[in-house]
Amino acid sequence: MTTRQKNPRRSAVAHVDPLGEPFLRTRFALPARPAVFLRRPRLDEHLDQSFGTPLTMVNGSAGAGKTLLVADWAARQRQPVAWFTTEAGDQGCGVFWAYVLEALRAAGVPLPSDIGCPGDASRVDHGLLSRLAHELNGLERPVVLVLDEFDRVTSARIAEQLEFVLHHAGRGLRLVVVTRTEPLLPLHRYRAAGAMTEIRGAELAFTVEEAAALLQLHGLRLPTAAVRALVERTGGWAAGLRLCALAARQSPDPSAYLRDFEAGRSTIADFLLTEVLKRQPVRVQDLLLRVSVVERFSPELVAELTGRGGTEPILAALHSQNAFVEDLGHSWYRLHPLFGEILRAHLRFRSPGLESELHRRAAQWLHASGALPEALAHGAAAGDWNFTTRTLVDDLAIGQLFTGLRANDLAELFSRMGPEATSAAADLVRAARELSRGDVERGLVQLRRAEERLDARPDAATRLSLVLLQSLAARLTGSPGMAEQAVATAERLWGEVPAELLDSHPEFSALLLTHVGSARLWAGRFDDARAALSTVAGCPGGVSTALPREDSLGQLALIDYLNGWLCRAERKAQASLRETERFGLRDPGFPGAGLGQLVLAAVAVDRDELRAAQALLDEAAAASGAPRDPVTAAGRSLATSRLLLSRGEPRAAAAAADLDVPALVDSPWAEVQTALVASAAHLAEGRTESALKVLDDVSSDGEPTWAAELAWARFAAGNQESALDLLDHMRTHRHTGPRAAVQCALVRAGAAQETDVAAARKLLAGALLQARRERLRRPFLEAGPRIRHLLDSPPLQDLAAGWLTPCRPAPPGGPGSAGDGSSLVVEELSGREREVVGRLAELMSTEEIAADLYVSVNTVKTHLKSAYRKLGVNGRAEAVRRARDQGLI
């Protein structure tokens, strides 16, 4: 595989910065081993076998000592071990893999930054997993990846993906799964193949000798019989033994205490923990109960929760005793999960009502220290929705409800909000949720309510959030006036919020400009729309702005298409789709979803590639269903109705051209498109009068693109005079594309043919040259027999051969032989297409080519299709032969 050097990959992708987020960092940290940890050689030796098997599973109940066993073993390996502690909130595949990539990077695994990064919390692109597996497979030494608390990952899809990566990474990845429950991996297969190292509860249980050693570490020397009895009572359970030791050590007569415990019948952990807890100083008890509400804590957060400072020594002492507290490094700690759970039960029992107060305090502290997601989670746990929504709005993070890795988590979090929250911020969040679900009416109601609740002088962040939602509502309701008002207000407000707030939320202005651009596009103000959309398309690539970038590129593609630039439209639409492919995004709820495919479909219709057009329309329907966004809906109706017309289904086309999206103002271009289709449908059914009448109702307003289309339609309906009249009054400007020029030329050629055949042919030659570059075939096919008759002259035949008409069989060796003919025909292959065809010549399969070039199978198929078309062939063998003949490979 030498392609990696040959193909510098896509530019760097911004990824989650583990160092920027203390919480993330603690999840990549090996938990530190406390002083009273007992190393057990038999388990270490068993763990060493994990280098020989792809999968290792350490499986045991809470408090069985799994995490510390693996952490201690991992810390002693010569090579760094990638560690990741999963959390219940990581159910989305996208989040999970984003963190796994970071964990690998944090452990120094050299992953190229262009390997990609999931951009959608709930999805991950298969290509990314393939690339990851490929990278790992190429490593000289295998990387050990530990997934701790894997029982929290309940998603079958993540298990499947993990299995895929593990399988394809070969010897490059050794996965160690630490879990309380049997993971959803196909363990039987690994077992049968001897490809799994397995340490289960029974093996984790302490033997009598080990228990004696552990007790000794705690300063207790007991006769063997007493230790044996203790092991029997606890089942060799690490947490039980450790708590026993602590409780006994604190009692006046440890041996008697343990005898009593052995005879007792209480549940072990709860009983012992209560015992140990009640022997702690009151201050420590209070601390332990209070920190049980947070996942992780630092001395500062503890001070906030307890109302007392100076807790660092207490935490350090608790950790070294290993009773309750685990050290995550950098002054961050967490409670042992088992004890944390029990302590939380104690907290609820002892101080009902304190829990939500503590969540609130944690939320405030976390917000102040810049940990927004955690602050929101605790605010929600406290049930304090006014605070939680306020925090989101103040942070200018409302856009994260629409785009980025956290969108799903936030939607889930705020779905729990009840009607009790009555602040303007709460209404803004409600409006955002309705709008993101596409319910514009309810969204608008909430927006109005939010406006009514605003203070006399609302702060800039609140007003900006309102403006962002208004721009989206404006776009969805086809209200360019409202959108312009929104962007004007936003421009006044930019200066009033801290610059770093805006910098940390690039999605905010990207969303705003996308929506404003869309409203302008709807209103037919293409230049203004392009200005806004290009800004978004040009903004630095990153997960948080991927959706607005995709959306903007799709709209820019539509503008190019409407202006008659097929190749430009195609390129932008493909860039739009690449944006989503790179981040594995598929958000059917996003307003512009599917627009890229729709533009490609329309381009395909103009090129008379009807099957491809249908496939793209199906793809778009799968991507977005019935679009609620006026521009996307218009794009769909345009592509669909044109396809149906081309197929000779005029009635269905007329029906599809009818836009059923309510919009405040009419869209001039959408109206022209509807009229054109209606006219063509009438014409196809022989109603010339009606065909012309429909056209009378719309005006081209001198806009060249539409003037050409309308002139073409009039000409087709037999009204040559008015067609020429339209063209005479048509202005052109630099954005007018080849399609308008081709249509003009065809109309004029049609008019000239009766009087001056030579002039008509000259016009046609010009049209063919322009159309060939774009492979614009439709107008010639629609042009009717008279014009087609004109094409039957040798120079025009040459211009049309190969792309519009089949290649002429050239007389061997004669003038104008295959050599020139084909050089005219064959369009330049792109670099990527050449690479793909080159690999075909090496007899590689599509899948192999995909793996070799680090792209998806679908991308390879697209390249192949396009290469076949350019080479004018139908199959692999023919393509290779043709490419060789042309000296392309």
Binding site: A62, T267, A345
Partner: protein, 65 residues
């Protein structure tokens, strides 16, 4: 549906508070938690709760209505 979950050992009053939706009774070295269970998800949730509190489940069965 109604279920009964038997766990090893006598649970303290504090710990039974972790199962506010269930009644409980202690008998012969075991604690029996019983009461209405909304659906499968709830059932698995209860099992998870047992596990995360370090309880050993000895038996679990559906009760006749």
């Amino acid at each position: 549906m109604r279920y009964e979950i038997r766990v090893d050992g006598h649970m303290s009053e504090t710990l039974t508070e972790a199962f506010p939706e269930l009644d409980h009774v202690k008998m012969s070295g075991q604690t029996v938690l019983f009461g209405p269970v909304v659906d499968e998800a709830h059932l698995y949730g209860l099992l998870n709760r047992c596990q995360s509190l370090g309880l050993r489940v000895v038996e679990m069965r559906q009760l006749p209505e």
